[in-house]
């Protein structure tokens, strides 16, 4: 298979390469998470500072379950987004998005680029809705997901805990994929 990839332009005019994560990316992905601070890593669902966790990710790569999309600047991974799917049942039509962007690349349009690609892929995969959840205080994320066509559907106060044990309010945002793709 020829490499599945495409380039995208950031706000400053520079280019990044977007492509699905493959087994050979283990080292670059490890370095990416290694560069992130604990304040960023606290929102990542798995303990990516544990090499075993990353090894497991790469051993179990299955695009039908989790489609992991990486953004590269040269050889360096600068963002990691994923589209999670369930093969059957009441969540079959629903995809969940997770995304982590290198803080050095915040405000450059990289998050929007990644989310837009996952939305297009969701349409291709036949998903009808997309969902994302994150702390309400992450105003940047709220703006990016709104721009991508998501709308806030609920806030659950004090549902999560921060790394210092403080309560965190969570916002749930949802997108109707067909409605967005069919904008006229």
């Amino acid at each position: 298979m020829k490499r599945l990839q495409k380039s995208g332009k950031l706000k400053d005019g520079s280019e990044v390469l977007l492509r699905p994560m493959v087994k050979g990316d283990r080292k670059a992905v490890g370095e990416f998470f290694g560069r992130l601070t604990p304040s960023v890593l606290q929102y990542v669902r798995n303990d990516v500072s544990d090499p075993k966790v990353l090894d497991e990710w790469f051993d179990q790569l299955n695009y039908e379950r989790v489609f992991p999309l990486l953004a590269f600047k040269g050889d360096k991974v600068v963002a990691n987004a994923s589209l999670h799917r369930v093969a059957y049942g009441w969540r079959k039509h629903l995809g969940t998005i997770r995304i982590v962007v290198d803080p050095e690349f915040h405000g450059k349009g990289l998050g929007t680029l990644m989310i837009n690609e996952l939305v297009d892929l969701a349409m291709e995969f036949g998903l009808e809705k997309l969902m994302v959840e994150f702390p309400l205080k992450a105003h940047g994320a709220l703006a990016i997901f709104k721009k991508a066509g998501f709308s806030p559907r609920g806030v659950i106060e004090g549902l999560m805990k921060g790394r210092h044990g403080e309560d965190l309010d969570i916002v749930i945002m949802v997108m109707d994929v067909a409605a967005y793709a069919g904008r006229i």
């Binding site: 990839q5 495409k6 690609e117 291709e124 409605a179 793709a181 069919g182």
Partner: protein, 248 residues
């Protein structure tokens, strides 16, 4: 007149041939609502067959991208990969054929387009989208048009605006036959020949009888295994092969 209306053949020669075999002498004309190429692995075979049978074709967004590969940057990673492969494998003559395809086509039986009359990249998938197009048809935005034929979603569908202006989908009966009322407005999507997404892997199309004002939807089995083998041999993504088995 009986018009066989096909859409989204997408380089699937086995499906295309099976559909032609299905309507045989039951149609006077053949109309393709766009996307002759893309996704699957037989682009030249499909273009050659379209030429051989004199099929009138509209230019879809994948046909456009095969002509101007820069447009592929707007596609997702899978669709982009497949259309760039298509471009590399099409003959010059067949690229020219795709570049010269028409946009919207006005026919005695209605207006034909790929996505919507406003653009080949747009979708009619949800009620508010159907309502917007039907309202414009009623207003006469595209002249006097009672019926609009569209594709792009890969899902067979009928939307109707009744005399009160109410818009609703029309259920396609088991025998596939729908009678159109002369005083109502319709959006008709035949589904996809080469990559159906209705959850049924069979190729989908319809025959529009303009004298009796009926539309007969048809579902056709084809040799999916052969199509999948060609996709694999071409090193196109596995995902594009697997989806044909499920029809999504």
């Amino acid at each position: 007149m009986r018009v066989a209306v096909l859409s989204d053949i997408h380089s699937n020669i086995e499906a295309f041939q099976a559909v032609i075999g299905d309507f045989e002498d039951r149609s006077d004309r053949i109309l393709n609502l766009g996307d002759l190429v893309g996704y699957n692995a037989s682009p030249n075979e499909c273009v050659n067959l379209a030429k051989d049978i004199g099929m009138r074709s509209i230019q879809g967004n994948h046909d456009q991208a095969a002509c101007s590969p820069i447009l592929a940057n707007n596609f997702n990673i899978y669709a982009r990969n497949a259309i760039l492969w298509t471009r590399e494998n099409l003959t010059d003559e067949n690229i020219r054929f795709l570049c010269e395809l028409e946009g919207n086509v006005r026919l005695p039986c209605g207006l034909a387009c790929h996505g919507t009359p406003a653009g080949s990249n747009n979708y009619i998938a949800l009620p508010f989208q159907a309502r917007a197009i039907l309202k414009k048809m009623k207003k006469g935005t595209w002249g006097k048009v009672q019926v609009c034929l569209f594709g792009h979603t890969h899902k067979r569908k009928v939307w109707r605006m009744d005399v009160r202006g109410k818009v609703a989908p029309v259920e396609i009966p088991l025998d596939g036959m729908i009678r159109l009322n002369a005083d109502e407005f319709y959006l008709l999507n035949p589904g996809s020949v080469g990559q159906p997404r209705n959850g049924d892997p069979r190729s989908s199309y319809f025959i529009f009888d303009t004298e009796n004002n009926t539309v007969s939807f048809r579902l056709v089995n084809y040799n999916v295994t052969s199509t999948i083998k060609k996709i694999t041999k071409a090193n196109l993504p596995d995902f594009l092969a697997k989806r044909l088995l499920d029809g999504f």
